[in-house]
């Protein structure tokens, strides 16, 4: 790889000044004038019920109300990977919080008052609030017409059951592997649901103008995917792709929650209902918790066989996921895990069953880490236990089994480059692995190290595109449709273009998406945009470069191959004095002696599609396809203090090493590491979602659902970047955004075990659980009935082979 000048520098963010001055606009900051209407949604109070009657007469007559819309007006389904979600509930409601109707009024207050006047008659159905109930033989079906739903070809729903998808991966012979093992450990781990908690809730304003075109201003990670989902769902209104426009200004945090489509489609149909007037729909914080998407809860059984010498010889990993009332996005999380639940290790014999189960809980979907955080909790906890059981140091064990370039993955393809062993060594050194730390009186100190890997989960034809155009002064506008959700995407794209064109980053304006004007991008998810869109931007810049050289060659009678770009000029290898600044010709061209001008506005386009991937693996084994483009690997370590009386955990230090391939902007990678660790620690230590026995979310606010404040952070966080180039990445880069939270939960569980000998197998890892365990009390026996997901009873009693899931 040739040396880079701009790529690899911590350039200042292109959106930095806009964000500290308040110039950065988010959707709710846009003004739509006095014609703006406001919508409030009427929500189901039942987890599962037939809708007998929705009486809107009182609401429709309330002051300020202009329209009340119900499912009768818009009886349509939608979904990203599977169309199993309703714009409004039709004959039945499937979770507490589901939208039944919407009131559109002149003011938000009028809409809110009127929404309370909508009368809903329910006929209760048995609510499916436990995985075992959902999977039993005569289970109540949440989607009786599952077989009729449109879906992607790599999902395998089972008609007549509550199974939305089942990903099976088989490699080698797992039974034979267990026979070869000297030691086998089997155990069950549970991870509840989690909420994304972006500080900006979902917000959309829609306008269906008098010419019949629909524009949505949305807080979204996926403007083009949204347009596509809406064009499909709203076809009955004659809307085609060109008639739908999605504009996405800055997004106040995504974390996967603003991927795909959730409430945006409600605003779209309300706009259609109110042709000619803009309609605003903002989610409250409570709705943000209850009716967007959450991270799926999972119960996982890990069975691992190892040799005395430490080699893993067999892994059986069974995961049952609580997808909630729709699985249009969540089933792809289940799919991704079903392909990758070996973790970053060489495992010759593998059996993975990842089962997506409908329940009467709020729908789940993408969440930073896309299932990997969830399965790493059990797997990494298990690995430490296995290593200790055979008397091997857990770090040595991980090093020994660490996956390397060329290794055969569970689904048969080969591993890409990545320095997992290097990461392990760096983190082990940083946390002084092997050295016992002194503890204060009443406290114990433990250490841990956990590995991670993650691949983007995307359709095999997910693609990116970029437009680049010069301005008169040699500055550029770059348009892309990857979304700036905080990660620094716009800056990194500017750096990629700047590197090729030798232009300072400050001279490139990168704009947030508008599906009318910006080129295509599948979605900003999966930590793939730096890699995918970076390739598209690089290609666009290369096209611009070719045009710059060709224009100068033609106008000046030079050979293009003698010319090169440097310092915003076209220069010549033959003539050291020759330097034609871009600004002198990129719009106005170059004058020849006879007064003719050669050239014209210079612009370039680029695109990228990973043409080597395929989702056509065998449904029974997953062999034969190439579903993932690459994995990013790394590991995290911690030093944690445990109060032996109260169980309170204090993270004294953490270090995390990730192989970024190439850090295009190291400071932004550091930002992903530090922010990801704190979000990961939050899921381990603080966030504790609770549902009542009736399926109602009990803590949909930041008072009762704790996310960390500035006072709740580790004493020290050390980010470590490794760079083993990704051959097909822009300048060698691969994604790092989600990965940084993946190893955090098992890291804490291991550190607790190391400090006080208590092994927690149910997240979150709260002080309460530690304190109980220190007193010899099993949390599972005292946990009560407000739970974090669709699982009741003791994990060790969970019947993995229940009914349809045999």
């Amino acid at each position: 790889m040739s040396k880079t000048k701009i790529v690899g520098n911590s350039s200042v963010r292109v959106d930095g000044l806009a964000k500290v001055t308040g110039a950065a606009q988010y959707v709710d900051d846009l003004d739509f004038g006095p014609g703006l209407l406001h919508a409030v949604v009427v929500e189901s109070t039942r987890a599962h019920a037939k809708l007998k009657k929705v009486d809107v007469s009182a609401a429709a007559k309330a002051p300020g109300v202009v329209r009340v819309v119900t499912g009768k007006d818009f009886p349509y389904m939608f979904g990203l990977y599977m169309q199993d979600r309703y714009i409004f509930a039709q004959d039945r409601v499937r979770f507490v919080g589901e939208q039944i109707a919407a009131v559109v009024a002149e003011t938000p207050e009028a809409a809110l008052r009127a929404a309370k006047l909508v009368k809903v008659d329910y006929e209760e159905l048995p609510a499916v609030l436990s995985l075992a109930d959902a999977l039993k033989k005569d289970a109540v079906l949440i989607h009786p017409h599952l077989d009729r739903y449109n879906k992607v070809p790599w999902f395998f729903p089972r008609a007549g059951t509550n199974i939305a998808h089942w990903r099976k991966t088989r490699k080698g012979d797992v039974e034979k592997g267990f026979q070869q093992a000297d030691f086998i450990l089997e155990d069950v781990y549970t991870v509840p649901r989690y909420a994304h908690c972006p500080i900006e809730t979902h917000a959309v304003t829609g306008l269906f103008d008098l010419s019949g075109r629909l524009t949505l201003w949305a807080s979204s990670q996926s403007p083009f995917a949204q347009r596509n989902v809406m064009a499909t769902a709203l076809k009955p209104f004659g809307l085609t792709h060109k008639d739908i426009r999605i504009v996405t200004p800055y997004v106040g945090g995504g974390f996967g929650g603003k991927a795909g489509v959730s409430m945006e489609i409600i605003a779209a149909v309300l706009a259609i209902a109110m042709k000619g007037r803009p309609v605003k729909l903002n989610w409250t914080r409570e709705q943000e918790f209850m009716n967007t998407s959450q991270r799926q809860g999972v119960i996982a059984r890990v069975k691992m066989g190892v040799k005395k010498t430490g080699q893993i010889v067999a892994l059986e990993h069974t995961l049952h996921w609580d997808a909630g009332a729709s699985a249009e996005y969540g089933a792809n999380v289940v799919n991704a895990v079903g392909l990758s639940a070996t973790g970053p290790y060489r495992v010759p014999n593998v059996k993975i069953d990842s089962v997506c189960v409908y329940t009467n809980m709020p729908p789940c979907g993408a969440y930073r880490g896309f299932g990997y955080s969830e399965f790493h909790f059990g797997l990494e906890s298990h690995i430490t236990r296995v290593a200790q059981a055979i008397g091997m140091d857990p770090v040595k064990f991980r090093r020994l089994n660490a996956i390397q370039e060329g290794d055969v993955l569970a689904y048969g393809a080969h591993m890409n480059p990545g320095d997992l062993r290097g990461a392990i060594d760096r983190v082990a050194k940083e946390i002084r692995w092997g050295k016992k730390e002194k503890a204060k009186p009443g406290k114990a100190v433990g250490k841990s190290l956990a590995c991670f890997w993650k691949a983007p989960a995307m359709p095999p034809n997910a693609s990116s595109a970029a437009f680049l155009k010069f301005n008169e002064d040699g500055s550029l506008n770059l348009t892309v449709s990857g979304m700036e959700i905080g990660q620094g995407f716009l800056t990194v794209m500017a750096q990629c273009a700047a590197e090729v064109l030798t232009v300072p980053v400050e001279k490139i304006r990168v704009e947030t998406p508008d599906t009318d004007r910006n080129p295509y991008e599948w979605q900003t998810v999966g930590s793939h945009v730096t890699w995918s869109c970076g390739n598209a931007v690089r290609a666009a810049a290369e096209e611009v470069k070719t045009k710059l050289l060709a224009t100068v060659a033609r106008a000046k009678g030079l050979k293009a191959e003698d010319l090169y770009l440097a310092d915003e000029c076209v220069k010549s290898r033959q003539d050291k004095k020759f330097a034609l600044p871009f600004r002198s010709f990129v719009i106005d061209g170059i004058m020849r002696p006879n007064g003719n001008f050669i050239g014209g506005p210079i612009q370039g386009t680029g695109m990228f599609m990973p043409e080597f991937t395929s989702a056509l693996g065998d449904p029974e084994t997953s062999q034969g396809g190439h579903p993932n483009v690459h994995y990013t690997v790394g590991c995290a370590g911690a030093i944690v203090e445990v109060d032996k009386e109260t169980g309170k955990l204090t993270v004294l230090k953490t270090a995390l090493a990730v192989d970024a391939g190439k850090a295009i902007n190291p400071e932004l990678v550091d930002g992903q590491i530090v922010g990801g660790i704190v979000q990961g620690l939050a899921t381990a230590l603080y966030e504790d979602i609770r549902y009542g026995a009736n399926g109602r979310l009990l803590n949909p606010n930041f008072t009762d659902y704790k996310i960390p404040t500035a006072l709740d952070c580790p004493g020290e966080i050390v980010p470590i970047i490794l760079e083993t180039a990704q051959p097909d990445g822009p300048f060698g880069a691969r994604g790092v955004g989600e990965h940084t939270m993946v190893a955090c939960a098992p890291m804490i569980a291991d550190a607790i075990a190391d400090a006080v000998g208590v092994r927690l197998k149910t997240m979150p890892l709260t002080a309460e659980k530690v304190a109980l365990a220190l007193r010899g009390i099993d949390y599972e026996t005292v946990k009560g009935d407000s739970l974090g997901f669709c699982f009741r009873g003791r994990p060790c009693d969970y019947p993995f082979a229940v009914g349809g899931a045999k």
């Binding site: 709710d28 500080i199 800055y250 945090g253 500035a710």
Partner: protein, 165 residues
């Protein structure tokens, strides 16, 4: 019962007719067109709506607009309008914010802290910012930058005094 209020908003006297149940946040955003105070929770948990009320950082979603009649309100629009402040510049230079939604509140809480306590300890900074939630950054770069700006201003001040005398 609609009542007219007058506040000094970012240095200018602004008037509005408000209902007794309208929050300061809603009036700032809806009636004065000042959009940097954001609504993140509407119940005082997140701090995205932070403004300075007579110099003190408060949550504008918990204050009724009629309560602040005659008082001075500063939002991010009123900070560094002509030239970014040292704090804003340092936040940009260090690539501190990610999504930026919490930035207006964070900047105002930091500014209020430094005005009252120019040389805070790290714990004091964390304490002062504990009412402003951020889901992206892990707080570390925010806290370190506030500390660095405080340290730099301490070095500058004696020199400035000497120059004047």
């Amino acid at each position: 019962m609609i009542q007219e209020i007058a506040i000094r908003l970012n240095g200018e006297v602004r008037r509005a007719a408000v209902a007794p149940n309208e929050t300061l946040l809603d009036v700032l955003r809806g009636k004065f067109g000042v959009k940097t105070p954001k609504e993140g929770c509407g119940r005082g948990d997140c701090g995205a709506c932070t403004v300075l009320l007579d110099g003190k950082a408060v949550r504008s979603c918990l204050i009724l607009a009629i309560e602040v009649d005659g008082q001075s309100v500063v939002t991010l629009e009123g900070v560094g309008r002509d030239k970014p402040t040292a704090l804003q510049k340092a936040f940009v230079k260090n690539n501190v914010f990610q999504c930026g939604f919490c930035a207006p509140g964070m900047i105002l809480s930091s500014a209020a802290l430094l005005a009252e306590n120019p040389q805070p300890t790290e714990h004091e900074v964390r304490e002062a910012l504990a009412g402003n939630l951020c889901r992206c950054t892990g707080y570390e770069p925010i806290v370190q930058t506030v500390l660095a700006v405080a340290k730099k201003s301490a070095k500058k001040k004696p020199a400035a005094r000497r120059a004047r005398s």
